[in-house]
């Protein structure tokens, strides 16, 4: 159960600021306790998404490197 997430967003290759906007939008829509994983491939997204997730009422559980310049951010709605 712990590794199962409720939603996945694949934002790899998307132009700034789409990854950030879509993540924030998704977190706002989610119900409390639901989880979301976001796949990104840009270092700037990795640095700014945690800031906007916090503002949208979520919490970053982990940021894992999933490949060359690719990361998986796991987020929980508070």
């Amino acid at each position: 159960m712990a590794s199962k997430v409720d939603y996945t967003l694949d934002e790899r290759g998307e132009v700034c600021p789409i990854p950030d906007v879509e993540t924030r939008r998704k977190v706002k829509e989610m119900k409390s306790g639901e989880t979301l994983e976001v796949l990104i491939d840009y270092a700037l997204s990795k640095e700014r998404i945690p800031v906007s997730v916090k503002a949208a009422g979520g919490e970053v559980l982990s940021i894992e490197e999933s490949g060359p310049s690719e990361w998986k951010i796991t987020i929980k709605k508070l």
Partner: protein
């Protein structure tokens, strides 16, 4: 050292710093309003603060003549607004799309080519006629301290040349205001893996001063550089009149190389393609808006914001205001408007 080698070297260092600091004016302007995040904005302000004092000092020592961009009100208002809208569509400002080419962003390359071609068309190409719509520059004969470059006695407007007061007074007032904003606002926390906002800002400011000392006629710019790169590379139809590469063209080329090296070394280089092909059309349109805007306004976010605001040039202050308004409008139109309609 020849001018083009100097331009190339300054460009490579600038490219490394842009890549490591992730400074993008499109993000900086947007974040302040829509994410209440001032991280990149404060980085830009540190750079502008250092240049405000540095440019003035360099002119005082007689190393350069300050050359503020010509003030053409309608051009900076309309062009500024178009440039501001364009950078949201393109996914980056003029410097942003340039250094992202080095990181492997295919969309950035598309946006940059459309930006460069449109700007070249506006500045002396097939679209030159649009400049007539905006009128001529407002200048002054005041040259306080003799620090400004004059063309037949005409000096472009800065706050100091307009009011005919010692430019140091205006530079120091501006620097104190910037310093107060930098010190007394809370910086948004951001875990960064490259240069933080202070060091990124200091590096950008110092490169701006070195750029001015090296190029002499102006500090950093992107628009003129893309125009020169494209013109010199495609050549003229008359081979006896080749278009030579210049300092600023090599600066832009250097930014791409520097960013590529920095991205490779930090393992952040990757060929990135959007999943939806419509994205290409969107960034191309963004590039056209940016090229038109920067072409008529006399500069982009680097020419007007980073290099122009330290001059306290009236043109750059007006252009910056309209870059910001265009950016906020387009961001709202694309991302906020839909959501408020849906809910």
């Amino acid at each position: 050292m020849s001018a083009i080698i100097q331009g190339l070297l300054v460009g490579i260092v600038f490219g490394v710093v842009l890549q490591r600091s992730r400074l993008c004016f499109n993000s900086a302007i947007r974040d302040v309003k829509f994410s209440h995040d001032n991280y990149l904005m404060k980085m830009a302000l540190v750079g502008i603060l250092i240049e405000t004092i540095g440019f003035q000092a360099a002119a005082q020592f007689g190393w350069i003549k300050l050359s503020p961009i010509a003030f053409i009100p309608a051009a900076q208002i309309v062009g500024g607004f178009f440039f501001g809208m364009g950078m949201v569509l393109a996914g980056g400002c003029a410097s942003g799309i340039t250094y992202r080419i080095g990181e492997g962003y295919v969309t950035a390359l598309v946006a940059a080519v459309f930006f460069g071609v449109t700007a070249a068309a506006v500045r002396g190409g097939a679209l030159s006629f649009v400049n007539k719509w905006f009128g001529t520059a407002i200048t002054t004969t005041n040259n306080p301290g003799g620090v400004y470059s004059a063309n037949n006695g005409a000096v472009n407007l800065t706050i100091a040349s307009w009011l005919n007061i010692n430019p140091w007074i205006i530079a120091i007032i501006s620097a104190v205001i910037l310093l107060a904003v930098i010190l007394f606002t809370k910086t948004t926390e951001r875990k960064v893996s490259g240069l933080n906002w202070v060091w990124g800002g200091v590096a950008v400011g110092v490169i701006g001063i070195i750029g001015y000392l090296s190029q002499k006629t102006y500090a950093l710019g992107i628009t003129g550089g893309w125009i020169n790169l494209l013109r010199a590379t495609t050549g003229s139809l008359d081979p006896t009149k080749p278009v030579p590469y210049n300092w600023i063209g090599m600066l832009v080329f250097g930014i791409i190389i520097g960013s590529f090296i920095a991205a490779l070394l930090s393992k952040e280089f990757k060929l990135r393609l959007p999943k939806d092909p419509k994205t290409f059309a969107k960034v191309a349109l963004g590039g056209i808006f940016m090229g038109f805007g920067a072409g008529v306004a006399g500069g982009c976010n680097i020419g007007h914001i980073l290099s122009g605001l330290p001059h306290l040039a009236i043109s750059s202050i007006v252009a910056t205001i309209f870059f910001v308004l265009g950016n906020w409008f387009m961001y709202w139109w694309l991302f906020e408007r839909q959501r408020s309609k849906r809910s």
